[in-house]
Amino acid sequence: MNTLMKWMAAVGLLLATIAPAAAADLLMVRVDKLFPEAMAQLQSAISSRGYTVTRLQEVNENLERRDFKSDMYRVVYFGKYEEVKRATASHPTLIPFLPLNITIFAEGDQTIVVASHPQALRRLFPDATLKPLFERWEKDVVAIMDDVREGK
């Protein structure tokens, strides 16, 4: 018994020292399309799921204004009014993470699209009442990224 306990403690210690990499909390897609085409596809995929695109942050223009070189780079913000209103009324600390957004930037003739996986929000805000909302966002964001990747 004593040996078993020692063995279990040793295994536990070994497992504790292998620090896992952060979980795959980012969704990334590389598409073989020029930026404008990929951008149009992204916005269409977002709108088709009932979200409103609220703003396009022009990152590369801001960098170029200060003489920093940059390829095309945008952050697309989107949301649903009622969802945002309800979620932030009950959980104001969610506000800094909203509206949802997806980053899109050119890399040569290809385009990279990056989104934070809503499962990361589930980890940061473990409140059970938020679970259905996060699951809905998760399903939609994954589907949006799939649409962009598959060129739908």
Binding site: T17, I18, A19, P20, A21, A22, A23, A24, D25, L26, M28, V29, R30, D32, T52, V53, T54, R55, Q57, V59, N62, L63, R65, R66, F68, S70, D71, Y73, V75, Y77, G79, K80, Y81, V84, K85, T88, P92, T93, I95, P96, F97, L98, P99, N101, I102, T103, F105, E107, I112, V114, A115, S116, Q119, A120, L124, F125, M145, D146, R149
Partner: protein
């Protein structure tokens, strides 16, 4: 036999054949791996998985463990949400690019002299893999490194690598090199097999050392920084704008959270966001990891609660280190976290 028949019948009843129910490796690879490793394994941000010498030098188990554990702090995440069958499907898909037999390696430790190995490591390996095995600089993401190399020298000190690679695999890589990459055969460089055993034993000794900085991501006590304001909403908004300026940022737009979601007259005026930026800092952050754009520009929210109390809040920038699994962001994240806290405290006290 009867059980198998029953399962097939049940699956057929659900409209699924066993083949359809099995995870689709190509699809899983496309969704989880292709952005970094390329649709056809040509690499880019990640290792070129289809490179013949890479395929010839690694075992299936190395792939499985790498997918499962990732590389802490070095961008490659841990795909812990994938189950065993899904990981196996990805491994089979990646192995589809292999023209030769799959390598298998003994799990037996290689015996050598780590003290002599350390000396040889400094002489032969450190120039590419770093003095302490921390890997080449840059984490491989897009424009953070020159694009003329097909592969980056891996971080040998990384616990994900050490857990995935057996001694025998490391030894084989040292003996034969990896064609198509800067990794050459050390036998051809004049080392003896005994010397190579010594280097392997030194690399394995990294496991007994403390977790290197390059493998650490920041822990956060809270994902959001919150401060109560002593002022009303309007004054607090003005204070935030002022504090942003005195902390070397410039503020841009000031909007409600609901901006663009509803007509302006119906926006909630009690949820205000001040956007601000420091372009030089932005450029630095994007050079380290271009994906951080999703948290830019910087923003602080000012909120008037139902009880009339005013709070300011922002994302804690330290969460980015873990989210992007990029230890090279740690310094910037800590710096940003300090700046946010300072701005919020100046605006509220």
């Amino acid at each position: 036999m009867l059980t198998r028949l029953l399962v097939v019948t049940l699956l057929a009843g659900l409209g699924l054949s066993p083949a359809l129910a099995a995870p689709d490796g190509a699809k899983l690879y496309g969704r989880n791996c292709a952005a970094c490793h390329g649709e056809t394994g040509t690499g880019g941000i990640g290792v070129p998985l289809a490179l013949p010498s890479f395929q010839a030098g690694i075992s299936d188990d190395y792939l499985r463990k790498t997918i499962r554990l990732g590389r802490p702090g070095r961008v490659m995440p841990s795909f812990d949400h994938l189950d065993k069958a899904e990981i196996e499907a990805i491994v089979r898909h990646v192995r589809g690019w292999n023209k030769g037999p799959a390598a298998t390696y003994s799990t037996r430790p290689v015996k050598g002299d780590p003290v002599h190995g350390r000396q040889l490591f400094g002489q032969y390996c450190a120039a590419c893999h770093g003095a302490n095995g921390e890997g080449s600089k840059g984490t491989g993401v897009t424009f953070s490194r020159p694009r003329d190399l097909s592969i980056m020298a891996p971080a040998l000190h990384n616990p994900g690598f050490l857990a995935a690679a057996t001694d025998a695999m490391i030894k084989a890589t040292l003996m034969h090199g990896r064609k198509g990459t800067p990794m050459t055969s050390f036998l051809k460089q004049g080392l003896k097999e005994k010397d190579i055993d010594d280097i392997v034993s030194y690399v394995r000794s990294f496991e007994k050392q403390p977790l290197p900085e390059s493998a650490q991501v920041l822990d956060v006590e809270s994902p959001v920084i919150v401060r109560d304001s002593s002022y009303d909403l309007k004054t607090t908004v003005e204070n935030v704008k002022q504090a942003v300026t005195t902390n070397n940022f410039f503020y841009g737009r000031v909007q409600t959270l609901e901006y663009g979601l509803i007509e302006p007259a119906r926006e909630n005026p009690k949820q205000v966001i001040v956007y601000f930026c420091n372009i030089s800092l932005l450029n630095q952050a994007l050079a380290v990891d271009p994906r951080v754009g999703m948290f830019l520009p910087c923003r602080i929210t000012i909120l008037e609660r139902d009880d009339g109390k005013v709070q300011v809040m922002s994302v804690n920038p330290k969460v980015l280190s873990r989210l992007f699994n990029n230890a090279e962001l740690n310094r910037l994240c800590e710096q940003m976290s300090e700046s946010y806290t300072r701005i919020m405290e100046e605006a509220t006290i």
